[in-house]
Symmetry: C2
Subunit: 338 residues, 2 copies
DNA sequence: TTGTAAGCGTTATCAC
DNA sequence: GTGATAACGCTTACAA
């Protein structure tokens, strides 16, 4: 593999000159530069990023730490979408992405800091970890620049990007109320997710706004899983048949809820309205198509990468980005007929 | 950041000893080793993979070059699934993955070899490129170890993994024939995909096996896209209403085909049977659920990583892996009633 | 069992 | 404008 040494030898200059010529420094004769460039091309030279990283003490690489980088993540395409967003922005800005593997047994022993330091990534984007994940403490304690997805923490070296979860659910409640619904229950995720807290706040805010009394037992947790959501919804609906609408904290859970309702003999949306959250691909393919709060997951990725790179290059001192959500009305919601 | 130098200083030994102690060499006193290990821990030492890579001339990193690493890849979760498979196997074997960005304008200028050499990846897994992609020639010409997904090329340094496409379609045809279908048409992908060739072979083989005469005009190309498939299917079915079954080269195209059929007043599966290919998540969520040939895309990823690492470590001289496919019977196929 | 020293391919600091 | 030379953090002959 050709090195600047080889180029230096064939051109008859020092390696210093080659380095400077190739890196576009001004203090080098244009003729020598051209000769060097030509030889570099002839010899199929590629700069060795590893060597450069070593001396520059930066790798132009960011780590992507994803908790749900498993097969199951394929159902909602969220993880993938964020990844493509990160990839897009990084590509434009000459950063490479390395995937951190936290799922496999072997790597599980390594701490977050070890993972980062070993690969000498310049920064990290973290997605899908829970509030009680041990990594989270490490992230805050360490000085490694980091952007969290959906976890609102701001530190010197850490920021976050999330969507306006409160407002999202609020829009859903607004819409349901406008359809004449008053008995609106919520299928939330779990207590270890910040987004669940926020979405719950949105639910409360919505009820309050329309002066609908809150009922604690009308909020159930579906663990962000289709099956779990089905189960709790079935119970909820059995115990209280007066419920006419369901806001769910994810589309997958909405599917579970719908399934439960159908099993109980409900017709959708005639007997009960359901709105999801995420707007995953599935939601426009199922029958009936799902009314949902759309998150631009690709943009989450883009903004996360953007924020991180700004952090790295100290261009700005923003520490967070809040993206808007949008209500997508489809077929699982209808006027209340009770 | 702590280095072996720091450890050497505090323990009072040379850096050589530290290096050897930490890397588990036998020729080092157990007492010194323990002291060194302790100090390393105390000082929060992490080995610098960059420095190591430079001297070892290997990065323990493999590049993932994906053509469809874009938002659109979210519909079929294939790209993502393969990625998780690769990630799983690499994690177990201490390899990291770096994502090669080929979509963004900036990187597009770089050749395949440049991409690989610059990052000094040990090997590459390539997915989603077409037969006429300029990268392909480079891959063959270069000496960089590479495993291709769904492109059957074997060279000294390149191998591939794919599924048994011929047999997959054959199973579909077998099944349709067993349901009494004789007028079976095919919605294929496009000529630039090896899998399309194979699936076409499977279609031919299936017809031949059951002594059904081939009709060239009953094979149409849907470009692996839902909309395109819908269009060509509409035309096909309009021109020849005697067709009672459709084998499609992807689930997404099957959805397009179904849509076209419905528009023409067909009921599914009463009036026409449709079978897809891939078994993407969507196919079990749509109504009616899709009969399809299932590919274990996660396993494709695992096997690709496995094959590449074997190649890298010269453990074996296999150059390819063929995975079986499976027919998943769901609701879009029924007995022929014509 | 341990240490010395060379070298991996760069960039950066000087001096010329 | 250009060239020695040191440095980045590590591994690895070779020597002791």
């Amino acid at each position: 593999m050709t090195t600047i040494k080889d180029i230096a030898k064939t051109v008859g200059v020092s390696i210093t000159t080659v380095s400077r010529a190739l890196n576009g420094y001004s203090d080098v004769n244009e003729k020598t530069r051209n000769k060097i460039k030509q030889v570099a091309k002839d010899l199929h030279y590629s700069p060795n990023a590893v060597a450069r990283s070593l001396v520059m003490n930066q790798t132009k690489t960011i780590g992507l730490l994803v908790s749900g980088l498993t097969r199951s993540g394929a159902k909602d395409n969220i993880v993938f979408d964020v990844l493509t967003g990160v990839n897009d922005y990084c590509g434009e800005n000459d950063y490479d992405i390395v995937l951190f593997n936290t799922t496999t047994s072997k790597q599980k022993e390594k701490t977050y800091a070890q993972l980062c330091r070993e690969r000498r990534v310049d920064g990290v984007i973290v997605q899908g970890i829970k509030k009680n994940d041990p990594y989270l403490i490490e992230i805050i304690e360490n000085q490694i620049p980091c952007v969290l997805v959906d976890i609102p923490i701001e530190e010197d070296a850490v920021g976050y990007v999330t969507t306006d979860n409160i407002n999202g659910i609020l829009k859903a409640v607004d819409y349901l109320v406008s359809l004449g619904h008053q008995n609106i229950a919520m299928v939330n995720g779990h207590d270890q997710a910040f987004v669940s807290q926020e979405r719950l706040k949105g639910y409360h805010a919505g009820l309050k706004k329309h002066q609908i009394p809150m009922r604690e037992d009308w909020v159930v947790n579906g663990e962000f899983e289709e099956e779990a959501a089905e189960k709790v919804t079935q119970q909820l609906l059995t115990e209280d048949p007066s419920i006419t609408a369901l806001v769910c904290a994810s589309d997958l859970m909405a599917f579970g809820a719908i399934h439960a309702a159908k099993k109980l003999g409900y017709e959708i949306p005639k007997d009960i309205s359901v709105v999801g959250f995420d707007n995953i691909v599935l939601s426009s393919y199922v029958t009936p198509t799902l009314t949902t709060i759309s998150q631009d997951t690709h943009k989450i990725g883009v903004e996360a990468a953007k924020l991180l790179i700004e952090l790295l290059e100290k261009k700005d001192n923003r520490r967070s980005t809040l993206l808007p959500n949008e209500l997508i009305v489809r077929e699982t919601t209808a006027a209340n007929r009770h």
